[in-house]
């Protein structure tokens, strides 16, 4: 069936089985591979995107449910001029990613959290940031979220002497 929705501000129409998860439509039909496959059961969050502004695990949402909605992926976070979103910049400043595979989802979850509560507390971070990172970057993820919301000095260790 043909399903129309928007991705990163642009209207799209895809031909897909109704039960196809949004994740695979994004990755295979729309070539937006920044959104990752991790578990397929909404347990890890690597596939997190925003649907009408709400953070959503795209591996477990049929694309038919997305009809008419607005999807934002990691590729859609940058400004029109290519400037990184402040959360992405905080991730670079704090040197968060290691293997990096989960970080698209982590960033999408963090952006949604910040948009929802402004300046998240530690408890709000604990409650909202439930994505898995096998490299164990959680302390730097927390540091980056706090820095992005002006709650801590951003990492300043950049560049060689």
């Amino acid at each position: 069936m043909a399903i129309a929705f928007s991705v990163n501000g642009k209207p799209v129409e895809v031909e897909a089985e109704a039960d196809t998860p949004l994740l695979w439509v994004l990755r295979e039909d729309l070539a937006l591979t920044g959104t990752k496959f991790g578990c397929g059961i909404a347990a890890c969050g690597a596939c997190s995107v925003h649907v009408d502004g709400a953070v959503t695990r795209s591996c477990s949402v049929p694309v038919s449910e997305i009809a008419g909605k607005a999807v934002t992926t990691i590729e859609g976070l940058k400004g029109a001029d290519g400037t990184l979103h402040k959360v992405q910049q905080a991730w670079v400043d704090a040197q968060v990613p290691q293997c990096g595979y989960c970080q698209s989802g982590q960033i999408m979850a963090a952006v949604a959290l910040i948009e929802a509560v402004g300046t998240p507390s530690d408890a709000q971070i604990d409650a909202a940031m439930t994505n898995i990172c096998r490299c164990g970057t959680y302390p730097r993820i927390r540091k980056a979220i706090l820095a992005a919301t002006g709650q801590a000095a951003a990492a300043t260790q950049t560049g060689a002497a």
Binding site: K36, Q98, C99, T130, C135, G136, Q157, G159
Partner: protein
């Protein structure tokens, strides 16, 4: 890395010392003197550093591969372009551990290059780039420092040429490749640039200085850029053993340089193996026999072929693959099948059966290897000795890299092209060639960015390499094979399930004898050093092999050995009525690096400060991969019986910290992974098959339960450079168990903690 999965590559005689070890070396009991080869094949294209250094053919071949117009290659390690751009080729894969950046720093520092003009790239999967330095680095581990020193270069060269290797593992990149190859290459090329400049300027080389990719003659005010000198310098012979900078001369080593791969990992543009795509490409997914060792008996292809988008069902000896337009159709097709698999005769294999078999082995079997020194039995039997015994168990652990296995293959005009993430590109080619039944020269492998590895991506035990090779060879179009998470969890190469019995004697508050019996597949004796300075110790390995493939899991045997020894040290401290830190301290060699590390973590963690009710503090210290790490954990138990870590401290002596910013991330990540494993991770077997299937029943620690901050501190001892990718992990499980024992009075001797709480 303690045992050799490829005995055919053993080198049984060369490692024998020609003479008895010096009298000062305590005689080891029954240590096998053979060369352990790491992972698949150990190393090396053109011989050892010296041998390879003069291997013109390899250099020429590599030059053709990497040097473009206006670029000049120096051996297989680097090139300089006429615009001064320096490209460093790393034989190691960087899957987020930051080794590319660190290796670049080491070479660029000795080269006096402008860091802004240095790029580090993955070396092509070609034998010319096989890692000579890695052989040299691992040799002492394999045969002992003494024996390694006796191996003639010619023998090492033979090993080298016979066994190409581009392995990533054993925390080896910086400590071996960096120290042996990168620094020497940088220094030798710098010397060649200076020699070239001296000739062109007609001045003595001694009057020239280098900085920022420029050679300067201060007296005359003249200077030449590296790019201008590169062609001439590349034609010169390089010094085999150039003088290296001293620590006070370093400009880049030790600096918190940012990693070049990070920007593409925050905007979604990094292309991992699973993201790779080709025109006309199909997507496939696979189900292998649930019981490892089982075979495919039969499958009715019909139900899969009835699924829209499914094009083909491919039967392998032990698996079935469904090929479709996309992953979702392939998965639906696979789910529609009801393949019958045999159990390989392993139907009685289960987690309790393995623990029972291991217990029987330790109870009466003959050890397969024994290490240690002194008379332990005499110590146990001495009058007045207080005997303490404890038994510990740890389960299979899964790597659970976040990117499930994915490889793309395309068989075209007799050549098999492969793309994906593997820890050893050369071995990947060899394995794929064998599976496809074609010459290795007809396999081209392009390494991609990896979404984690932690030891899972050594091609020797990556069935996906065989699967994609066989699959692609029979399809007219490119195909990407993706493992579901369920396939990944149920078909791992796990950290082995392992049991240990520890026994020690105490007299006057000191340990007089210490015995560790442990049963598992691999002998850990040559891998994990025993750090305590005791009058009598013995460590006996009882070999046990289940039907599973035992893998190298981050920090390998140091995880369980560290848990055993460091849990038991706390139990001994309690039996001696002493506080655990001070008890450990008095059993470490006076003035040792271990004591310095332990003292520092105590200081930084404010170790003697009081804690709230219900909160406990635990300490542990483990040495592995040449690095000593002590950790202090403050933790409490939540109502569901799972631990909550409140604070974490790590002090590290890896000799020299090449990049503190990245080293901190590695230690922090290792600590968190260690806490995760100890908290709730376990792979269990029932009727020979893995029970756990996904993150629902193989839970990974999440942010809420990880320490909000990890205080990581490095001691710059200047000792031989150690690894950082792995050593942060092993102290965390025992430190957590010790903290919980302090908080609750109840000691966990079988991991994971949560399973014990629920039992």
């Amino acid at each position: 890395m303690a045992d050799n999965p490829r005995p055919d590559l053993d080198f049984p005689e060369a490692g024998e010392p020609a003479a008895a070890p010096p009298a000062t070396t305590p005689k080891k009991k029954g240590v096998k003197r053979r060369i352990f080869l790491v992972g698949s094949a150990l190393v090396v294209g053109g011989g050892m550093f010296g041998v390879w250094w003069s291997d013109k053919a390899a250099g020429k071949h590599a030059n053709a591969l990497i040097a473009g117009e206006g670029e000049h290659a120096f051996m297989t390690w680097m090139k300089i372009a006429e615009d001064d751009a320096v490209t460093v080729y790393s034989p190691h894969i960087d899957f987020g551990q930051g080794s590319h950046t660190a290796l670049g720093q080491m070479l660029a520092d000795e080269l006096d290059a402008d860091w802004g003009k240095v790029r580090v790239e993955q070396a092509p999967a070609d034998t010319a780039f096989a890692n000579t330095a890695l052989a040299k680095g691992f040799l002492p581990t394999m045969v002992g420092e003494f024996a390694a020193g006796l191996l003639p270069d010619a023998v090492i060269g033979m090993m080298a040429r016979g066994m190409p290797l581009m392995i990533t593992g054993g925390s080896s990149a910086v400590r071996f490749t960096g120290e042996v190859a990168m620094r020497k290459t940088g220094a030798a090329v710098r010397a060649a640039l200076v020699a070239e400049a001296a000739e062109r300027l007609g001045v003595p080389a001694g009057e020239l200085t280098t900085a920022g990719s420029v050679v300067t003659h201060t007296k005359s005010g003249r200077s030449l850029r590296y790019g201008e000198l590169a062609a001439g310098a590349a034609a010169r012979s390089l010094d085999r053993d150039p003088p290296l900078k001293t620590r006070d001369q370093w400009k880049l080593i030790g600096q918190p340089v940012v990693r070049g791969d990070i920007p593409a990992k925050v905007d979604g543009s990094a292309v991992y193996g699973i993201d790779f795509t080709l025109p006309e490409m199909r997507v496939a997914t696979v189900a292998a026999a649930p019981v490892r060792g089982g075979k495919l008996v039969s499958v009715d292809e019909g139900p899969a072929l009835a699924v829209k988008g499914v094009e083909k069902v491919v039967k392998l000896e032990d698996a079935v693959i469904v090929v479709a337009k996309g992953y979702w159709q392939a998965k639906k097709g696979l789910d529609a099948l009801a393949p019958k698999f045999s159990d390989g005769g392993h139907a009685t294999m289960s987690t309790p059966a393995i623990y029972a078999a291991q217990g029987t082995l330790m109870g009466g079997g003959k050890p397969d290897n024994e290490g240690g020194a002194g008379d332990v039995e005499a110590a146990f039997g001495a009058a007045g000795a207080k005997i303490v015994e404890a038994e510990y168990r740890v389960p299979f652990l899964h790597h659970a890299m976040m990117e499930p296995f994915a490889m793309t293959g395309h068989y075209k005009d007799g050549t098999l092209h492969l793309w994906g993430g593997m820890q050893d590109p050369l071995a990947t080619r060899a394995k794929a060639a064998k599976a496809a039944g074609i010459d290795v020269g007809k396999v081209v492998f392009t390494p991609m960015i990896m979404g984690g590895g932690f030891g899972r991506r050594f091609p020797d035990y990556c069935e996906i390499v065989d699967q994609i090779a066989v699959l692609a060879k029979q399809l007219p179009y490119p195909v990407k094979l993706i493992w579901s998470r369920e396939e990944d969890v149920t078909h791992g190469a796990y950290r082995p399930q392992s049991s240990a019995r520890l026994k020690a004697s105490l007299a006057d508050g000191r340990i007089t004898g210490f015995r560790m019996d442990y049963a598992q597949s691999a002998d850990a004796e040559s891998e994990v050093p025993f750090i305590y300075d005791l009058p009598a110790t013995t460590r006996r390995h009882f070999a046990y092999q289940s039907n599973q493939t035992d893998g190298y899991w981050r920090s390998v045997n140091a995880t369980q050995i560290g848990f055993y020894v460091e849990s038991f040290m706390d139990e001994l401290a309690a039996a001696a009525g002493e506080e655990p830190y001070r008890f450990r301290r008095k059993h470490l060699a006076p003035g040792s690096r271990h004591i310095a590390v332990l003292d520092e973590v105590v200081k930084r963690s404010n170790y003697d400060s009081p804690l709230p009710d219900g909160v406990g503090r635990g300490i542990a210290i483990v040495e592995c991969f040449g690095t000593i790490v002590a950790e202090v954990i403050e933790a409490t138990l939540k109502e569901d019986g799972s631990p909550k870590v409140l604070k974490a401290f790590a002090v590290v002596d890896c000799g020299t910290t090449v990049n503190p910013l990245n080293a901190e991330a590695q230690i922090m990540g290792g600590l968190v992974m260690g806490l995760s494993s100890a908290t709730a991770e376990q792979v269990t077997l029932d009727k020979g098959a893995v029970v756990e299937r996904n993150f629902g029943d193989y839970p990974i620690l999440k942010a809420a339960d990880a320490p909000p901050v990890v205080d990581v501190h490095f001691i710059e001892s200047g000792a031989k450079t150690g690894g950082i990718g792995e050593p942060g992990l092993p102290p965390a499980p025992p430190a957590l168990a010790n903290a919980l024992a302090a908080a609750t009075g109840k000691r966990v001797r079988t991991l994971p903690i949560l399973a014990q709480a629920k039992a």
